[in-house]
Symmetry: C2
Subunit: 209 residues, 2 copies
Amino acid sequence: MAKCRDANKTKETITYSAMELFAKDGYEGVSVESIAKKADINKAMIYYYFKNKAVLYEAVVRNLLDDIYYEILKESKKCKKPIDEMKSFIFTYAKFADENPYLPSLMLSELSVGGRNLPDDMFVGLKRIFSLLRSILKRGEEKGCFEKSLPIMVHFMIVGSINLFITTRQLRLKVENEFGKDICNDCKIEEISEHLFYSIKKMLKGEDT
Amino acid sequence: MAKCRDANKTKETITYSAMELFAKDGYEGVSVESIAKKADINKAMIYYYFKNKAVLYEAVVRNLLDDIYYEILKESKKCKKPIDEMKSFIFTYAKFADENPYLPSLMLSELSVGGRNLPDDMFVGLKRIFSLLRSILKRGEEKGCFEKSLPIMVHFMIVGSINLFITTRQLRLKVENEFGKDICNDCKIEEISEHLFYSIKKMLKGEDT
DNA sequence: CTCCTAACTAACCGTTTAGTTAATTATAAT
DNA sequence: ATTATAATTAACTAAACGGTTAGTTAGGAG
């Protein structure tokens, strides 16, 4: 890559390499030098485009959270009924996480240290994803198609299970012969989404509706 | 603490201090020196009792996983029906995670990097917790009280949501005025367990049972 | 062609890191 | 009291770290 003399391209190369490494090894587990090597550029270039390591990390996380948020929002607008929005939320999040496994890794590693590596204003990214689900639940309750629930727990059940499903992919391969199909190693992400949606739907359905 | 000349006590002090720090900042985010300072001992003592940083980390994680496993197992034996075992699994795991918030943090941070900091044989700890839930589900299916499900996803929904609920405690405080009771900042862990159990129960209940 | 500037580089700096070593202390058994 | 040994320490090393700096290159504008 080196010496392409295209600022946008170089900056993007840095961001992408950083994303791969941060997702694999966490913020502290990655050295600026290793990002430079992966991007095949000089380390000083990273400081040319980003103030420091923390700012680069922020950019990476912000990019991913923006992307998933607008993707969910876009798909959500195609729906009419709350139940369809819920399905859309689950399928879109799962598909995105499957195609961008960096997101689940980064999200879990960041939440596991209580957002220590991110400035406060970065949580708008996480917050507005929750806000989306919360409004779906609220609308469903008002229309009488969802039972009352604890929004934050429903949210954690959905994103928690999808995130863990994605991040444990490699790990689960090692225990395939022990657990067989119970750990869904051969499942496509759509099957997972379908099962999850089916479960959440039953969960939210009133006792006698 | 220093100079107590009690090997067991010193070793335990090291392990506990290490657990607190690893849970807060992750494996790479913690220096051996900082553990020594927290434990109020000389850094060399850590290398006297543990071969290196990685071995200390393993000991910390192994301790926690052993404790939670045997706790769940103990409570599980008091139950007769699969549905009671399920309730016991959820309540016991949640209570333990609430009292030992180091477990959720460590589990998430380790899973987010695909177990990079742990040797393969450490996953017996994670595996056998899943095995417990899996056997509960299987028994329930055989007795006809649970619908067929994807065990790994049920597992991830339970431990994923509980882990996230615990690790995001501090974070959620910052957005209390924005989301109010929707994020359950005042909820006791028993209320969370109750809601989770209620949800999972509905989820697993056959269409017309 | 020349000059300016954005893009880029190699070498370096001070600090922190994981881990070692040789020497010292305290205790319990002989 | 002597001795053996387990527990503890300060001082150290070599490597890796995040970040800086002074200087070089290349390409487009005039």
